[in-house]
C-alpha cells in the first residue's frame, strides 16, 4: 500500500525524480574524476565515465523500477494516435459515427434483451422456480377452461394445446416429490370501493403458499398461512407497496384495517416489498396491486375437468427440471387410470419460470439481437474499409518512419492504438446513442412485452458495448496494420505514392465490400419477410366491422350481484339507457368481446357418431351481432324471448356448420356440452377471427345471454356502436353505469380499432426495428461501395489517364469501372442470398402465412439492394471517365 503511494508519487513527479537522479549521477562522476586525477590517472574524466557505465541506460533502468514504463509508452502512443487522427477529422468523424450507430443500436437491443430474458428473476434461487401448465391433444374435449395466462397456447414442439391447470390435480402433482412447494394463481381484477372513486384494480387470486414458493416476505405484516384460503376464513388481503403508498398514503397503521374489494371487506395482513413483482405482472406488464387468498369452491376443487389456474412451483434443490417432469409423468399415468374421463389425455408440463414468462417474445428478441449483431458487423466492415483506405494513403509516411528506424512492431502498435482510439470514441458515442435509442424503443414497444419496464443500462450493457468495441478495434485494426507495414521502405520511397496501393489491398477492399453487401442482403431479406408478413396480417379481414365500436368492461362483483340473473338484469337495464344516448347506433354485451379473452369447452353432437369436439363458447345479447357487424346467414338471431324457461337455444358460426354438419343444415339440431346441458341450434352467423388477425377461424357457439344457466362465465364486456367517434360517448356511458350503481367502475375502455392495433403492436414493433436496421445496413453498404470505388478510381488515376491519352472511349472507361463494381456487388448479393436462406429460417415462427423462402421477397430484396449498390457505383465510375490525362500524367 505504501509502496503504491510511493509509485504514484513518482508518477506525478517523474520529471523531478529524473532530474534528481541525473544530478546524483553527475556528482558521482565528478567526484570519481577528482579522485582519479588525485591518484594521477591520465584523462580522469574519461576513466570516471567508463567506470560509471552507460548513464542513459542506468537512468532508464531506474525509472523502469517504478513500474510506469509501459504506461508511459501507452500514453505516448495514445498522444500520437490522437494527433494523427485529429489531422484527418473527416475520416475520424465518419468512422466514429459509423461505429456509434452500430454499437448504439446493438446496445439498445441488448439492454432490452438483457432486461427481458437474461437478467435473473428477482426471487431467491430463481433457477428452482418453474411454471406449470397442462396440455392436451387438440381432439380432447372433456374439459372446460377460460382465462389465465397460459390459455390456448399451442406448444410449438409437441403441437399440444396448452391450458391452465385444474385445481383438483394440483395436490396430486405436489405429491410427486419433485417440489418443495407449489402454488396456484389467477388474474383477478376487483372493484375497489371506499378509497376515492370506485375503480377496478388488478390483483391476483393466489393459493396460500404463493409467496413462500417465490421466497418473498412482506415488509410489513405477514404472508398468507394455511387456513387463510378456506372459504370460511376471514377475508384477508396482502397489498403491493404501490397500493399502500399511492392509495393509502403509506399509512403505517394499515395492518388490520380493511379494504373493500368487490364489495367484500378484507383485512390487510401484509404489505409487499417495493421491488416485488408477481410473475403474472412480469408476463403481461400490468401491475398487480393486491393478492387475495384463493378460496376455491368445493365443486371446483373436485372437478378435474375444470382448468382455471396458473401454477408455479419450487423444485427441490437437487431435482433438475427433466427429473421433475419425469415424476409428473408418473403421477399423470396414475391419474389417467384413476380418472380416465378427465385426465387420460391431460398432461402436466413444466418449464423454468423465467423462460416461460418470456416464451411469446423470446424468438422475436433473439432475432432482433442477431439482426443488430449483423449491423455491428457491417459497421465494423465499413470502419475496416475506412482504416484500410487510410492506411494505404499513408504508405509514404510509414516508409519514412521505417527508414528512420521505427520498428515494424512499433508501427503496428501505432495502427492498433489508432483503431482502438476510434473504437473507444465509437463506444462512448454508441453508448450515448444507445441510451437515446433505448428510450425510443421503450416508447415504441408494445406494453405487454414481459419485464420490458425494467430495461436499464446496467454494467453488463456497458461491458457488452465495450467488449464489442474493443474487439472491433483489435480485429479491424490489425488487418490494415499488417498490410500497411509490409511496405518495403526503399521500394516505396522510390516509387510515387500514388501507385503504391498493393494488389492485396485492392483485393482486401473488394472482399470487405462483398462482405458488406452480403450482410446487408441478409438483414434486408429478414426485414422484407417480416414486412410482407405484416402487410398480410394487416390485410386479414376479421369478419366483423371494428370501426366505430367502443368496447368496455363492466365486472359486477359477486358480493353485490349474487346470481347470474342479478348480473343479467343489470345489463338489461343498462342497454336501453345507453341505446338512448345521442350518437349510439346499437348496443351488445357478452362474456367477452372478440380479442378480449375466450372460453373454450368440449361438446358432443347428438347425431351419431357422437364425436366429441371443442369449440369457443360465448353468451351474447340479442344486439351483439348487429353491434359488431356480423351477418346472419340462416335461421334467426336471439331475441328478448330467449330467456330462462324458454327452450335453450344456440347460434353457431359457418365454420361450426361446415365442420360438423358437412354442408347440411344445422338448424334444429342440438348438442350437449359441459355438464350435459343441451341446446338447439336456431341460427348460423358469419365467421369471425375471434382471436384476432393472426388467429384461425374456429368453430364458435353463441348462447343466449338471457338463458343464464347455460353459461358459467360472467357477462362482463359491453360493446357500443356509434355514429361518430366512439370515444366521445365514453363519459355518457360511464354516467349511465354510475346511475345504476354508484360503486361500479367501467374499465378496459377501448375502441375496437385500438384493440386491433394493440394486437398487432408487437409485430409492428419488430417490423419497424428490423426495417430500421435494414435501412441503416443498406445505407452503410452504399457508402462503403461508394468509398471503395472512389478510392480505387483515385488510385488508378494514372492508369486511366494513360488509357484516355491513348484514345480509350469514356464509355469504355465507365464500363470498365462498372464491371469491377458489378462483380463485387454480384458476389455480395449471391453470398448474401445464401446467408439469408440459411438464417431467415429462424424467423419462420414470426412469419405469417408465408415461408422464410418466399421467392417474391427475395427477388425484391435482391433488386433493391442491387439497384442501390449500382447507383452508388455510378458516381465514381462517371468520375473515372472525366480524368484529365494531362493532370493525371503530371502527377506521376
Amino acid at each position: 500500500m505504501r509502496e503504491l503511494s510511493r509509485r504514484l508519487a513518482f508518477l506525478f513527479r517523474r520529471g523531478r525524480y529524473a532530474a534528481d537522479l541525473r544530478e546524483e549521477m553527475h556528482l558521482h562522476i565528478e567526484l570519481r574524476a577528482r579522485r582519479f586525477s588525485e591518484q594521477g590517472v591520465a584523462d580522469a574524466e574519461y576513466a570516471a565515465r567508463r567506470q560509471f557505465g552507460n548513464r542513459t541506460q542506468y537512468q532508464d533502468r531506474s525509472s523502469e523500477i517504478w513500474g510506469w514504463t509501459v504506461w508511459e509508452r501507452v500514453v505516448q502512443d495514445v498522444r500520437m494516435g490522437i494527433r494523427s487522427l485529429s489531422k484527418s477529422p473527416g475520416f475520424t468523424a465518419v468512422a466514429v459515427l459509423t461505429l456509434a450507430i452500430g454499437l448504439g443500436m446493438n446496445t439498445a437491443v441488448y439492454s432490452v434483451v438483457n432486461a427481458v430474458m437474461l437478467r435473473k428473476l428477482p426471487y431467491p434461487h430463481p433457477e428452482q422456480l418453474v411454471s406449470m401448465w397442462e396440455q392436451h391433444p387438440r381432439t380432447n374435449t372433456n374439459f372446460s377452461s377460460h382465462g389465465g395466462g397460459s390459455f390456448g397456447w399451442t406448444q410449438p414442439k409437441t403441437g399440444m394445446l396448452r391450458t391452465t391447470v385444474s385445481v383438483a390435480n394440483i395436490a396430486d402433482y405436489e405429491g410427486s416429490g419433485a417440489f418443495t412447494a407449489m402454488a396456484s394463481f389467477d388474474n383477478n381484477a376487483m372493484n375497489l370501493t371506499g378509497v376515492g372513486i370506485p375503480e377496478r384494480v388488478d390483483g391476483d387470486l393466489v393459493s396460500w403458499r404463493f409467496f413462500s414458493v417465490l421466497g418473498v416476505t412482506p415488509v410489513m405484516g405477514r404472508d398468507f398461512r394455511g387456513g387463510d384460503d378456506s372459504p370460511s376464513a376471514e377475508p384477508t388481503v396482502v397489498l403491493s407497496y404501490g397500493f399502500w403508498q399511492q392509495r393509502l398514503g403509506g399509512d403505517t397503521n394499515v395492518l388490520g384495517q380493511t379494504v373493500t374489494l368487490d364489495g367484500v371487506k378484507r383485512r390487510v395482513i401484509g404489505v409487499l416489498p417495493k421491488s416485488f413483482q408477481s410473475p403474472s405482472e412480469m408476463a403481461d406488464g400490468t401491475a398487480r396491486e393486491f393478492f387475495v387468498p384463493a378460496a376455491y369452491p368445493s365443486d371446483q376443487v373436485q372437478q378435474r375437468g375444470n382448468h382455471d389456474v396458473d401454477v408455479i412451483a419450487r423444485l427441490r434443490p437437487d431435482v433438475p427440471v427433466r427429473t421433475a417432469q419425469g415424476k409428473l409423468d408418473v403421477v399423470q399415468a396414475r391419474l389417467a387410470r384413476q380418472f380416465p374421463d378427465t385426465n387420460k389425455e391431460m398432461f402436466p408440463a413444466i418449464a423454468p419460470l423465467g423462460d416461460d414468462i418470456v416464451r411469446s417474445t423470446s424468438t422475436a428478441l433473439w432475432c432482433l439481437l442477431a439482426a443488430s449483431g449483423l449491423l455491428v458487423l457491417i459497421t465494423c466492415v465499413n470502419v475496416a474499409n475506412l482504416l484500410l483506405v487510410r492506411a494505404t494513403g499513408r504508405t509514404r509516411e510509414l516508409s519514412v518512419r521505417l527508414a528512420v528506424g521505427a520498428s515494424r512492431s512499433r508501427l503496428v502498435r501505432l495502427f492498433i492504438t489508432e483503431s482502438l482510439l476510434l473504437a473507444a470514441g465509437g463506444c462512448a458515442a454508441g453508448i450515448g446513442m444507445g441510451l437515446a435509442i433505448t428510450r425510443g424503443l421503450l416508447a415504441l414497444a408494445p406494453t405487454d412485452i414481459p419485464r420490458l419496464e425494467s430495461t436499464s443500462m446496467d454494467w453488463t450493457v456497458f461491458a457488452f458495448a465495450a467488449g464489442i468495441a474493443t474487439l472491433t478495434g483489435l480485429v479491424f485494426g490489425i488487418a490494415p496494420a499488417w498490410h500497411a507495414t509490409r511496405v518495403q521502405a526503399v521500394d516505396s520511397l522510390k516509387t510515387s505514392a500514388r501507385t503504391s496501393a498493393g494488389r492485396s489491398q485492392v483485393r482486401w477492399l473488394g472482399s470487405l465490400t462483398v462482405a458488406e453487401v452480403a450482410l446487408s442482403m441478409v438483414l434486408l431479406t429478414g426485414a422484407g419477410l417480416l414486412l410482407r408478413s405484416f402487410a398480410l396480417v394487416m390485410n386479414i379481414d376479421l369478419g366483423f366491422q371494428p370501426d366505430r365500436v367502443l368496447a368496455l368492461n363492466i365486472n359486477l362483483p359477486a358480493a353485490r350481484y349474487k346470481t347470474a340473473d342479478d348480473r343479467l338484469r343489470f345489463f338489461e337495464a343498462l342497454e336501453p339507457r345507453v341505446n338512448a344516448l345521442a350518437g349510439v347506433r346499437s348496443v351488445g354485451y357478452a362474456n367477452r368481446l372478440p380479442m378480449r379473452g375466450s372460453w373454450r369447452s368440449g361438446f358432443t353432437l347428438e347425431e351419431p357418431p357422437q364425436d366429441q369436439q371443442v369449440a369457443d363458447f360465448q353468451a351474447v345479447s340479442p344486439g351483439y351481432f348487429e353491434t359488431l357487424g356480423m351477418s346472419l346467414i340462416r335461421g334467426r338471431r336471439f331475441t328478448a324471448h330467449d330467456r330462462e324457461g324458454s327452450p335453450p337455444v344456440a347460434m353457431v358460426n359457418q365454420a361450426f356448420a361446415r365442420s360438423y354438419y358437412k354442408g347440411g343444415d344445422p338448424l334444429g339440431h342440438g348438442f350437449l356440452y359441459a355438464n350435459n346441458r343441451r341446446v338447439t341450434i336456431v341460427g348460423v352467423v358469419s365467421d369471425i377471427r375471434r382471436g384476432g388477425k393472426e388467429a384461425d377461424v374456429l368453430p364458435e357457439v353463441y348462447l343466449a345471454a338471457g338463458q343464464t344457466t347455460l353459461y358459467p362465465t360472467r357477462i362482463a364486456d359491453f360493446a357500443v356502436r356509434t355514429a361518430g367517434d366512439p370515444s366521445r360517448v365514453v363519459n355518457a356511458v360511464r354516467q349511465e353505469v354510475l346511475a345504476l350503481d354508484k360503486d361500479q367502475p367501467i374499465t378496459n375502455v377501448r375502441t375496437m380499432r385500438e384493440v386491433i392495433d394493440l394486437s398487432v403492436a408487437e409485430r409492428r414493433f419488430e417490423v419497424l426495428l428490423l426495417a430500421v436496421f435494414a435501412a441503416v445496413a443498406v445505407a452503410l453498404a452504399v457508402i462503403g461501395i461508394y468509398g471503395v470505388l472512389s478510392y480505387s478510381v483515385a488510385q488508378r488515376t494514372g492508369e486511366l489517364g494513360i488509357r484516355i491519352a491513348l484514345g480509350a472511349h469514356p464509355g469504355g472507361i465507365v464500363a470498365m469501372v462498372m464491371r469491377q463494381a458489378g462483380g463485387l456487388i454480384a458476389a455480395g448479393l449471391a453470398i448474401g442470398l445464401g446467408g439469408a436462406l440459411l438464417l431467415t429460417r429462424y424467423l419462420a415462427s414470426l412469419l405469417f402465412q408465408m415461408r422464410s423462402t418466399d421467392p417474391l421477397t427475395y427477388a425484391i430484396c435482391v433488386g433493391l439492394l442491387g439497384a442501390a449498390a449500382v447507383a452508388a457505383s455510378m458516381a465514381p465510375a462517371v468520375r473515372s471517365a472525366r480524368v484529365d490525362p494531362m493532370v493525371a500524367l503530371r502527377n506521376e
Binding site: 509502496e3 510511493r6 534528481d20 558521482h28 570519481r32 579522485r35 567506470q51 531506474s62 525509472s63 523500477i65
Partner: protein, 113 residues
C-alpha cells in the same frame, strides 16, 4: 593499485552490501556508498558504479531507504541515504540468507575436496 585483482560483485548481493554499508556509516551519498564498498573490500569488489543507482531507486521504492538532499563538505548538493526500520529488517533477512547460502556452499565445496 592493481586492476587485475578486482572481481565482479556476485549478483544479488549488491543490496546486502548497500544496506550493510549504510548500517555502518549511517548517512552516505551515492559516491560515498560506492567508495566505501570498494575500500572496505580492499578494492577487490568492483561494481560498474552506475549500477548502484537503479539498486538505490528500487530500495527507495521498497521503503528500505530514505533519501534526503543535503550539502557535502564542499557545499555541493547531494542526496544522502539512510536506513529505515524496514531497511534494517531487510538487512537482517539478507544477512541470514547470505549466511545460510554461503555455509551451504562452503559445505559442498569442503565435501568435494
Amino acid at each position: 593499485m592493481s586492476r587485475s585483482q578486482r572481481d565482479e560483485i556476485p549478483s544479488g548481493t549488491l543490496d546486502l552490501l548497500i544496506l550493510k554499508t549504510l548500517a555502518r556509516h549511517g548517512e552516505l551519498h551515492g559516491f560515498e556508498i560506492a567508495d566505501s564498498i570498494q575500500s572496505t573490500s580492499e578494492d577487490i569488489l568492483q561494481v560498474e558504479e552506475g549500477s548502484l543507482y537503479p539498486a538505490l531507486q528500487r530500495m527507495l521504492l521498497k521503503g528500505w531507504l530514505k533519501g534526503e538532499w543535503g550539502k557535502t563538505q564542499e557545499n555541493r548538493r547531494a542526496r544522502y541515504y539512510t536506513l529505515t526500520s524496514d531497511g534494517r529488517k531487510q538487512l537482517q533477512n539478507e544477512m541470514d540468507r547470505y549466511g545460510r547460502v554461503s555455509n551451504a556452499i562452503a559445505r559442498v565445496l569442503e565435501a568435494a575436496s
